[in-house]
């Protein structure tokens, strides 16, 4: 809402400096988003044209003598509308004006025009920056004060206010005046409204019927006949422009002006075009058509409220009028509508039609049904005055929705409970009264408060408490810390696990990323088989790239890898801990916490120390081994099925017999699908929900062994196909074996074909005694015997 300070001053005295006023408004909830100045004219004053003579050397130019009260100047003027006695804006030499051609500010210099010296200039609106008009000079009202600087007379300051949706009353100058008055200790003046009704009684000329009273609590109408259509006077046009509205004519402008003044939208119908001179407020018929003022032909439904005449809809109630009953140059009589409509139905209508207007924006927020009559009288007065029309006797006022205001009880205890401060009744009354609330003392601790009709947002005692707090100023209220007891502690183990996982992986040199939860079906298809792909869809996506809720973290990571590959030279190691969204029948989806990571590029970034080899499967596996070691979770890797991963290099991660995730080399086909150029990309994905129980298991300390370790190395030859883990598991199963390390794997000429050599270091140790050589030797023989029996392993020669 743009508010002219000059206009505001008509209803409230403003003595505070502008910045302080803006500060107070902002702090109390009416945020001043900007302050604009209209004018800033220097050396331009109000003058009167007292003599006009022809220019001796130019037919189309004239010499105008302008009286400024104490001085007279003669200037050369080419405007076709120059007339004797006009009040004009006269720019003296040295003033700054806008060049109508270039739009730039230029300084007015003394000049000779066709041989005659011009001592100044009579300005057009464009030259002053008021509007685009440049067909002639700007003519000021005849009561414009002679010799007064134009800045004083026409200049204004515009407050650009952000009005919150609960305050439709502040979408009006009078509403803002109430705020200013309360904040500065002043009182509000209302416009004086009185006029003569010289026409016939309105009941004889028009009728109004509300068919659907649930959607129209009140409908008021007046009639002005014998109007003369014309542009509005400059003062009104300027105010409309200042508040961001385009002047149209003296009828439409009045409806807009009063809407800005009171916050009540009005509509002017061309009375002659209303069939049977009837107004019927009713729901539209399904399929009923109406061409609205914006020129769009619209199909209506029975959920929408329309204003109809004897034949059909002429306006969508509270949203926009129709072209057929529009006021035009030929209009001679105007029926003015000032009504109240149900905000919910109106908003639904305007959303359904995708049609929002200044009127609908006010109605949908719920404005007072007390306003229509006040605003209508004001509009009737202005319209008659501006158009020279005759006002029909009386006003039609149908008010089925009238309710009596219910007083609200407010106690000092309530104020204390919410604000944490003791305020006396006097102070409460003072603040509330300044905003127009009527307060009655019920007891020394209690008030009974009647809410002023325009404050439709105030309903509860809590609302009154806010009124008091915001006018006093939140910064004036005390500041404390909550003193009560703390709630019972509820652990959040999943969050704790996620945090640990993130820290460990970052410690392993991996960068955390966060990718979008919304993705496209096409992208997910690249990593999820169609038979398993049933993601939730957004009904109103912005783009197809963000249309479905992800059911896997893989695509986001692979996209991040792909885009980073284009500029990264070294390795890329990314991980994400995030949710996937798995649909459930008739319920919200399951939001499952997952972990996924990708690694690619060289093991060590290139430097003067040399260049590392490419990362491989075992780098990724090493990261996971560190992760699970730190989490205290025992895992094993087993061959896996996973279409995204290369069949020769993939493993599932098993915890306590249950699969919790998968690790492997990205299938070259998938890499190509994601436009990934690296040949070796390793990916893992782990279901944190499945991991959680194991991660929560309590940890126990093991004493440091007191007896020495005996080391023995053995090299075994086994079939290539036997997993090293099977060999290691057998060795580790022996009671005296404390630890086994695989330190060499060899396949080649030194061993037979289809065989491989595995070299282990075995740590023999007993928790109770020092082992003898004999004991170790015997254990080693038993191990070899068993490996031979079960796996056909032999000692390497």
């Amino acid at each position: 809402m743009k508010a002219s300070l000059k206009w505001l001053r008509e209803y409230v005295n403003i003595t505070l400096p502008l910045q302080e006023l803006a500060q107070k408004l902002t702090m109390s909830g009416t945020e001043v988003a900007g302050i604009d100045t209209i004018g800033g004219w220097d050396n331009i004053v109000v003058g009167e044209v007292v003599a006009i003579e022809p220019h001796p050397n130019a037919e189309r130019l004239q010499l105008a003598t302008v009286d400024l009260g104490t001085q007279r100047f003669t200037s050369v003027c080419g405007a076709p509308n120059l007339e004797m006695g006009q009040k004009v804006a006269f720019a003296k030499i040295g003033s700054q004006l806008i060049d109508p051609e270039s739009g730039e500010l230029v300084k007015l210099k003394r000049a000779k025009i066709r041989g005659i010296a011009s001592e100044g200039m009579i300005c057009s609106e464009r030259e002053l920056g008021i509007s685009d008009r440049h067909e002639g000079i700007m003519v000021l009202p005849s009561d414009a004060p002679l010799g007064v600087p134009l800045d004083e007379y026409l200049g204004d300051t515009i407050l650009d206010l952000d009005i919150t949706p609960n305050r439709p009353d502040c979408l009006s100058i009078i509403g803002i005046a109430w705020e200013v008055a309360a904040l500065t200790g002043k009182s509000v003046r209302f416009p004086e409204v009185s006029y003569d009704e010289t026409g016939e009684p309105i009941e004889r000329k028009a009728s109004v019927e509300i068919a659907d009273a649930d959607l129209c609590p009140r409908y008021c109408a007046s009639l002005v006949t014998d109007v003369k259509m014309a542009p509005s006077p400059p003062w009104m046009e300027q105010r409309l422009l200042a508040c961001g509205m385009r002047p149209i004519n003296n009828i439409v402008d009045v409806t807009n002006y009063v809407m800005l003044e009171y916050g009540q939208p009005l509509h002017a119908f061309d009375y002659q075009k209303l069939a049977q001179n009837r107004i019927i407020v009713r729901r539209a018929q399904d399929g009923e058509m109406l061409t609205t003022l914006d020129g769009v032909k619209r199909a209506l439904t029975s959920e929408m409220l329309v204003i109809a005449d004897g034949e059909g809809a002429v306006a969508i109630a509270g949203v926009m009028g129709g072209t057929e009953s529009e006021v035009t140059e030929d209009t001679t009589s105007v029926l003015i509508e000032s009504a109240n409509f149900n905000p919910v139905s109106l908003r639904r209508t305007s959303m359904a039609l995708r049609l929002r207007s200044e009127a609908s924006l006010r109605f949908e927020k719920g404005i007072s049904p007390e306003l229509p009559l006040l605003a209508l009288r004001r509009a009737t007065q202005l319209m008659a005055a501006l158009s020279g029309g005759k006002i029909a006797k009386g006003i039609i006022d149908i008010y089925p929705g009238k309710t009596e205001p219910k007083p609200i009880s407010l106690t000092t205890r309530q104020v204390r409970r919410i604000l944490g401060v003791d305020l006396g009744l006097d102070q409460m009354v003072k603040v509330l009264s300044s905003l127009g609330f009527q307060c009655q003392r019920v007891s020394p601790e209690e008030l009974s408060v009647i809410v002023p009709y325009w404050r439709t947002d105030v309903r509860l005692s809590d609302d009154l408490v806010e009124e008091i707090a915001r006018i006093i100023g939140y910064d004036e209220l005390p500041t404390t810390l909550p003193s009560g007891s703390l709630p019972r502690y509820e652990p959040n183990p999943m969050r704790a696990l996620r945090q640990r996982v993130c820290e460990i992986l970052a410690g392993c040199g991996m960068q955390e990323v966060i990718t979008y939860s919304l993705t496209s079906l096409a992208i997910m298809r690249k990593v999820v088989p169609d038979s398993q792909l049933f993601p939730l869809r957004v009904a109103n996506p912005i783009t197809t790239e963000q249309e479905y809720l992800r059911t896997t973290l893989r695509p986001g990571l692979l996209q991040a890898l792909s885009s980073n590959e284009k500029h990264e030279e070294g390795s890329i190691r990314l991980f994400e801990v995030g949710k996937v969204y798995l649909p459930r029948e008739g319920d919200l989806p399951e939001e499952r916490h997952m972990l996924a990571g990708v690694l690619s590029g060289p093991r060590l970034d290139r430097s003067w120390h040399g260049e590392g080899e490419a990362l491989d499967f075992f780098d990724a596996k090493g990261v996971l081994e560190v992760l699970f070691e730190r989490l205290g979770v025992a895992i094993s890797f087993e061959p896996a099925e996973d279409e995204t991963l290369s069949p020769a290099r993939r493993a599932k991660i098993v915890v306590g017999g249950e699969e919790v995730g998968v690790l492997g080399e990205l299938h070259p086909r998938v890499a190509e699908d994601f436009d990934i150029s690296s040949r070796s990309v390793y990916l893992f994905e782990i279901d944190l929900e499945r991991l959680l129980p194991a991660a929560l298991e309590p940890h126990k300390y093991r004493p440091i062994p007191r007896f020495p370790v005996t080391l023995r190395d053995i090299a075994l030859v086994v079939d290539v196909a036997i997993p090293s883990k099977r060999v290691q598991d057998i060795i580790e199963g022996f009671p005296l074996v404390a630890r086994v390390t695989l330190f060499d794997v060899y396949i080649g000429e030194q061993v037979p074909r289809e065989k491989k050599s595995l070299a282990f270091r075995i740590h023999y140790q007993s928790p109770t005694r020092t082992l003898t050589d004999e004991e170790v030797k015997q254990a080693q023989e038993e191990i070899l015997e068993r490996l031979h029996r079960e796996l056909g392993a032999t000692l390497r020669a």
């Binding site: 959303m351 408490v465 969050r495 966060i514 990718t515 957004v538 939001e591």
Partner: protein, 344 residues
Amino acid sequence: MLEKLDEIRSNAIDELSNLQSLNELEDWRIRYLGKKSTLTQILRGLAALPLEQRKAVGASANEVKALLEAALGQKRAALKEEELARSIERGRIDVTLPGRPLALGRLHPTTQMVREICDIFISMGFQVIEGPEVEWDYYNFEALNIPPDHPARDMFSTFWIDTESGERPMLLRTHTSPMQIRVMERTRPPVRVVVPGKVYRYEATDATHESMFYQIEGLAVDENITLADLKGTLYEFAKRLFGAERRVRFRCDYFPFVEPGVEMAIDCFVCGGSGCRLCGNTGWIEILGAGMVHPDVLRRVNYDPDVYTGFAFGLGVERIPMLRYGIEDIRLFYSNDLRFLRQF
């Protein structure tokens, strides 16, 4: 004999001063102090001398021996020191050469910010809880005093989920506030929680708008919670997050689920309050929205508003690193360019 000893001494000392290495020193020792050295032989031959001479020569010979041994010790130490210095010098390196690269991991800036903020509230007795991102209309709107067709719905452009029945509207939560309802539904006061999480807005993205971002919700409900407590808690938070020298301002604002409604701002740390581009010439930077929990919201979760009061707040997470580091485009956060992520 005594002259002989004098000669040995002066020769030995002269030679010693010219020695360069421990090997030469060893030769010197053998020559002057070894078993076959003249000095040793003199000492051995003392017994054969007449008593008078034996005494004088003996004293002098022992004196020379002690002197040479002391000189030997000193020289040995000096040579060792030189040797060490030489060997150290041989190992001199260019310390300006870069170190061996390690793979460096980091947490996402949003994760870091969420933790920093949550930690502040944890230290004030708040617990961290989380909730669903896909929500019912009821929790996101209706229970928060925003029924269908309420004009405040304009404040929250919403992604709706395509459900087959379409009976119960499902959406991507537009704020973390639905968790106010969920928390109060399942616990009784006292409540003191913060709720971090992703939220979604149906909005075309630009430098200051993202369709997905993070919020942190806060809620405290108890018997004696007041607006003064709201101010105190958020004041403390702002000072800890932005520094003790920042000024904090509370002004009236509107959110349908609180009454009174509050907006907290800090003075602009670029211009210090005089007005600049960052703060839109207001001198203040909005940080969060807050307010006292609306009595209708309390009633809806069966909390008696005559017994309990509470405050709630919600803040956008990315905005804070944006302000702190001068990041001008919010879209950088989730496009995951390593050149961006590596800076935090």
